[in-house]
Amino acid sequence: MFRYIAQRLAQAAVIVAIVAAITFALIHLAPGDPFSATMENPNVSEAVRQTLRAQYGFDRPLPEQFVKYVNALAHGELGWSFSHERSVREVLATALPNTLLLMVVALVGSFALGIVIALVQVGRRGSATDHALSGVSLLFISMPDFWLALLTLLTFAYWLPLFPVGGAYDVMSEYWGFGHRVLDRLWHLALPALTLTALASAAVARYQRAALLDVLPADYIRTARLKGLTERQILRRHALRNALLPIITMIGLSFPALLTGTFFVEKIFSWPGMGYAVVTAIGTRDYQLVMGGVIIGSIMVTFGSLLADLLYALADPRLRR
């Protein structure tokens, strides 16, 4: 068990190192550098650019730059955001809790909803309900995140003005009591979280349905049936428990899609998270902020899958040695 954890941790470290190398390569393979790209202003003279390059170390040989880059990354230094006039680390640190809140709510919501849908489907396998729900999940996994977000915004914020158009809290919320603030927060969270949940739960439902159908022919299911248990008991107590193991892997796998989803959803609902910061930075060509987001996003995904693997090892008694 400990050997497995150690191995898996080492593997994650190697992946993060390669990710750093890839992002470094991305920055340096591109024509020009952040200063020629972001400062196309003709009033900025070449001399100023040279000074800036020297200040940021862009005039040094590549291997030296790489060592510095890795060193800075290890210390959490991600550069300077021109558009926010703050360090990238600060910008992302203020944005990240909002993104994490959105992701956790969507993750929990989509797995709960997805598993329930799968249970309903497998309980009535082959019925019209099963087919209809399969069709609906197929529809949702075929939808681009940003399109569903736009339609949700249009329907529930404009046509039926039930929810706010965007933002994370009301401008007046500072003056409100704690309970009121929490409600306000949830009210703003509703639409972005709902959009992400709808998208992710479709994938979970499809996966979980297949996993449940996989365990149904097993001997212990037949035994349970022979004991005289109802179909409901068999599904919930015997099939679901065994079919839940692969779902842990699914959590790790769904992380990249969920993170990508937050980028669009945050942009459309003006949810002040990392995705919103990065997508806005693309518009303002705030290159270092964009790259900082890319690096942090990749590290989050790496650790998400690491966490899923460790959870799996904990949950599966066969791996617990």
């Binding site: 390669i18 990710v19 681009p144 990249p256 990508t260 669009f264 693309i282």
Partner: protein, 297 residues
């Protein structure tokens, strides 16, 4: 010399020993009603894209009346409405089909080439090379594709559609190459490979003639899903402003131009999106049916 059969007229033709695995899979897929419908719908969308200049009622770039003709809701003259510059949205969606599908297919061809080559080399070589290649792949896989593309596309300020296709293709082969590598690894000690080796076949011949034909089904499934994926990705990139540059029309592009005023210009988001969902859904249905047909073999 291959076996020959003769018909009554005495013409000989090479005997068909067995149907190709892909042909068999396609026939099985088309036996299902849902996949026949999907096939038909996809065919119609493809035709719309191919025949765009003949079908589109207006020039997609024409701005006939920028004062009174802009931002019109759907009507008989403009079934999908007009955009901010008075361009006909239906015509733009039709031309968008052309561009989005073309980008999807071309990028997927790039992905297939790289994915198959990388996976086959890693699986066939094995050993330390395989380990290193797989670790690099793990790293690429742990950068979400959208983030990788954002990193690349923001770094290259003005890129052409060709470059966009290339980048989309180059970021899409990681998953496929892992499948290919696994299959090659599983098959490389199979008896038919050993037999070919014993007969003196070169490595290249074994790879091309004996290993790859066994991988056609998973590759076709991956390609079908790949096209769907690229279409959604391209739209997403266009939506955040680093995809297909205006004034060209792609589905994502049209949505992007109306997104800031979605409350008043809802038709610019709704219709291109519907086309996109329809395309992606048919591709998903076909991919699923194909992999089912393959699994049943």
């Amino acid at each position: 010399m291959p076996w020959q059969t003769q018909d009554f007229a005495g013409n000989s033709a090479p005997m068909r020993l067995r149907e190709s695995p892909l042909g068999l899979a396609v026939r099985r897929v088309l036996r299902k009603r849902s996949s026949r419908v999907a096939f038909f719908v996809l065919g119609v969308i493809l035709l719309v894209g191919l025949l765009a200049p003949l079908i589109a009622p207006y020039d997609p770039a024409a701005q006939p009346d920028i004062v009174f003709g802009k931002s019109l809701p759907p009507s008989f003259a403009h079934p999908f409405g007009t955009d901010l510059y008075s361009r006909d949205v239906l015509s733009r969606v039709i031309y968008g089909a052309r561009l989005s599908l073309m980008i999807g297919v071309l990028a997927t061809i790039v992905s297939l080439t790289f994915g198959v080559a990388y996976g086959a080399v890693a699986g066939y070589a094995g050993g330390a090379l395989d380990t290193v290649m797989m670790r690099v792949l793990d790293a690429f896989l742990s950068i979400p594709r959208l983030l990788l593309l954002i990193g690349v596309l923001v770094a290259w300020p003005d890129f052409s559609i060709g470059a966009l296709v290339l980048f989309l293709g180059l970021t899409g082969w990681f998953g496929l190459s892992r499948i290919v590598r696994g299959q090659v690894l599983a098959l490389k000690h199979a008896e038919f490979v050993t037999a070919a080796q014993a007969l003196g076949a070169s490595r290249r011949r074994i790879l091309w003639r004996h290993l790859l034909p066994n991988l056609v089904s998973p590759i076709v499934v991956a390609a079908t899903l790949g096209v769907a994926h690229v279409i959604v990705l391209e739209a997403g990139l266009s939506y955040i402003g680093i995809g297909v540059p205006p004034p060209l029309a792609s589905w994502g592009n049209i949505i992007q131009e109306g997104a800031d005023q979605v409350a008043t210009l809802w038709w610019m988001s709704l219709f291109p999106g519907l086309f996109m969902v329809l395309t992606v859904m048919t591709l998903n249905i076909l991919a699923e049916a194909l992999s089912e047909a393959h699994a049943r073999r």
